[in-house]
Amino acid sequence: MKPSSEFVALNRATFGATVEELARVEKIGWSAWVEEQLKPDAAAKDEATKRISAHKLEIEYEHEGMMAPAMMIAGKKPEMMAAEGKDGKKAEKQKFKVKEERGLSSLEKPLDQLFRVQNQEDYPYEEIQRCSYEVEVATIIRACYSKWQVRELLVDFWHNHFNVNIDADNTIRAVWPAYDRDVIRKHAFGNFRELLQAVAQGLPMLYYLNNRSSKASPANENYARELFELHTLGAEHYLNHLHKKWREVPGALEGKAEGFIDQDVYEAARAFTGWTAADGEDYDDDKHFPDDGGFHYHAQWHDPYQKRVLGVELEANQPPLADGMAVLDLAAFHPGTAVYLSRKLCRRFIADEPNEDLVKRVAKVWTEHAKSPDQIVHVMREILLAPEMSGGFGQKTKRPLEFICSFIRATGADLRPEEDIIWRLAECGQHLFQWGPPTGHPDTADYWQSPNSLLKRWKFARDLATDGFDGEVVRMNLLRNTPANKKTWQEVADHWLDRLAPGLLESHTREELTKWFREYEDDGKARHHEPDAEISLNESDLAEHLGEFVALVAATPEFQLR
């Protein structure tokens, strides 16, 4: 059996194909489905939006400070901190207990508010951590339930491409909702050059790759190096082993260096000196930066003299920001960037080793639309409508988030994610916003198919399906989602096989699984049931047995792949 081409394409363009969505694609056609996905209607309330508004997460901690945490969160000015108590003594710290079910209230907060509240003395760490936690939870909800699946995959792609580890600094966690919303999501379908700048000037990247403290001289090279090597030209254009001097790099003398060497990194780092965050940092003893959590250019830290980047001269004493902007232009519009990013997108959506002809076609579209505000829409259309998109099932291994979401989506389960889910994803090798090095997660099977990762995902699905999570994390609803007219062992097995793996499994695999299902074990004794016999288990036994069954379907080799 071979899965249909619609299934293959849909499974790659979503966090898991469902039979309902598959029917829709068959009805309206693939290109109509793609067009719909490329223009998400932000105003429409889809299932994910509803779930996010209704989602509540517990927060519990003890806090010692001058003010109740609720007042600090509301941004109340700390006047009372200096106030004297009744007996004439200075107000003392008090103990507060916080324990409540709270909605995802940080997601919509503006950046300056997120930044300023956490910048108060004694601000509880649990509240800082909560901000990024809400984004993690919302990300999982959207992956499972959003109508705009291509957008969600792209958001995931950009977060990985511009990897930031939220553990690098508390402040990153605090402003994470604004970064996810106003930088990554805002530009996910936009223009790469604009996205690149929004990332470069966002507090999370300024902190993570340390440019916020880069000043002349010597500059901090961390951001400049990864800008070339990871964000734009890619390691394939790092030519340091070939050329020690900039003049030797092909094209450099014409101002069109084919690649970069360490000297370009040094110069670019100088260009970005003074690019820092508006984080209220002190300087010159009594002055401090603005504190709205945004971007700040500090001219005193900038190295103003002439530079040469990728063979292009930057004159001395340019206006504020001009040096850095010139480097972003050079990197974003470099032909190597078009190829590198196109290949990376094809790799993410289609195959570990994408067809180079496809990469060239996509790079052409990338370059033609380099200055279009919707450059990435054009690029994604080229990828999604390519014949390669629907061919050759199994050229990608699902990431753990894709694996779990595809399981939830196919079963129709009700997942209410909380920290256990995030922790279990990490155990499988996917560290949501917490990948350490700036590379982001690798995107090939070599990484995702490790024995540990494979085993942990089998166990993850099994624990979801058999009540292995405490509390209200998941309701599988397997009985409710089994149609009333499916009564026999064979009918029920077929129903779930068709939902989880439509057209995906060889017939002998289906038979093996069905045979397992029919041999229900009771008190340690396996009892064989005929295929057309009606199931007579009580509800809780059947729910558990069905849970084990769908978990086994999810553990098949085919279900690990896209």
Binding site: N170, P218, N220, N240, E427, P437, Y447, S453, L455
Partner: protein, 410 residues
């Protein structure tokens, strides 16, 4: 600097454990084969802050004292015997546990060691080192150097190669036998009939099938090897008497898991452990102290825990590059070149610094900026593989590598 989290977690550093067992017991006769442990310090460990020439004038001129080891004062390093001729090489003050291993004669260190390719890219340098190569045309070598090592050691037992942690590093790339594992006891799945079913479903020939089969076979193997109590319950791991991993951090946790697997008599020959976080471009003083402290304590705790196996085990420590001699204005250091590598084991020619120290004068630096590399990283590995691990030669392990002169580390 607004670094709240720096302040809240430094208690652990104050309670560092001392090695309890430095007069190591004579090795009991072993039936097991040699175990090679490769510990990778990822991010580029600043060798010049870990092991520096305290009185070198170029060193003093290039960095503030809090990014150096000094011969007196707050940053006073630990003096070492048998350093490079006439130079006061000192260890970072948090590396007391390493000093004890060094003095015991089990630990050798090589400064100015690394990948002689000029790369200052973490990922490229790691890619090459883990494939056992040193040039671009070989970066596509399709397997890791430990993958090839394991193949050269076949036939092997149940569990020849383990990557401690979630995933396989590139040094074990495309190994048919290497398993990633955080804790051995986690290797279970469901009931017997579920495992049997999965084994049948993973009988195919694609890579996913091979990985699945390896996973399932490992479950079976480990379940038979894990020590159990009278009721059949898997026992908690107990380190050797007097050894505690309590203050050894995350690295200690990984090494504790490794010690358990190594002692299960499942035929372990190669193990990898990663320790991240050495990319200290900013705020290095605090971060580096924490890293050195945890690394030193974890390594010595593990070594004490493995005391019965010292003659049958070698630990190699490496990093993709050292860091720039001159510090930046972010109170950190950028990517450099030569770094510190280490070899630990009872047959090691330890208590000695190996390799050549050229000094830090501008004319001796690589690109005028970084400590030059005087020892190819494969020189060290070659000695370990041929003299400790038992390979006749390393031609297939390090393609194109010509061993010039052994350093006499082993």
């Amino acid at each position: 600097m607004n670094r709240r989290h720096f302040l809240c977690s430094s208690l652990a550093a104050l309670t560092g454990s001392r090695i309890t067992n430095l007069t190591f017991a004579a090795d009991a006769p072993q039936s097991r084969d040699h175990l090679l442990v490769v510990l990778f310090l990822r991010g580029g460990c600043d060798g010049l802050n870990l092991l520096g020439p305290a009185n070198d004038k170029d060193y003093i001129a290039a960095r503030p004292e809090w990014l150096r080891v000094t011969d007196a004062g707050k940053f006073e390093g630990i003096a070492l015997k048998n350093g490079y001729n006439g130079i006061d090489m000192r260890l970072h003050k948090e590396a007391g546990a390493l000093k004890e291993l060094y003095d015991s004669g089990h630990l050798a260190m090589i400064h100015g060691c690394g990948l002689q390719n000029g790369s200052r890219s973490h990922f490229e340098a790691q890619d090459m080192m883990e494939r056992g190569v040193a040039d671009h045309k070989n970066i596509s070598v399709a397997s890791g150097w430990l993958t090839r090592t394991i193949e050269a050691l076949s036939p092997y037992g149940l569990l020849p190669a383990v990557a401690v942690g979630g995933e396989l590093p590139d040094s074990l790339l495309h190994s048919k036998v290497a398993v990633s594992m955080s804790e051995a006891r986690d290797f279970t799945y469901g009931r017997e009939n579920q495992l049997a079913l999965l084994k049948r479903l993973y009988e195919g020939s694609e890579s996913i099938h091979r990985t699945g089969k390896l996973t399932l076979d490992t479950i079976t193997a480990l379940q038979s090897k894990l020590p159990r109590d009278g009721d059949g319950k898997v026992q908690d791991y107990t380190p050797e008497k007097g050894v505690s991993y309590e203050n050894a951090g995350d690295l200690g946790e990984s090494l504790r898991n490794l010690a358990q697997i190594a002692k299960m008599d499942a035929g372990l020959r190669v193990a990898t452990v990663d320790y991240d976080g050495w990319d200290t471009h900013e705020g290095q003083e605090y971060r580096f102290s924490e890293l050195v402290s945890e690394f030193s304590r974890a390594l010595s705790t593990f070594y004490s825990d493995m005391s019965r196996f010292h003659s049958k085990m070698t630990v190699v420590v490496h990093t993709e590059f050292g860091r720039r001699l001159k510090s930046n204005q972010s109170e950190g250091t950028d990517h450099g070149y030569g770094g510190v590598h280490m070899v630990l084991g009872s047959g090691v020619n330890g208590g000695k610094l190996h390799g050549e120290w050229k000094g830090l004068a501008n004319e001796h630096l690589d690109e005028g900026a970084d400590l030059a590399i005087t020892t190819d990283y494969r020189t060290v590995l070659n000695e370990v593989l041929t003299k400790r691990v038992g390979l006749a030669d390393t031609k297939s392990i390090f393609p194109g590598f010509e061993m010039k002169k052994a350093l006499g580390i082993v």
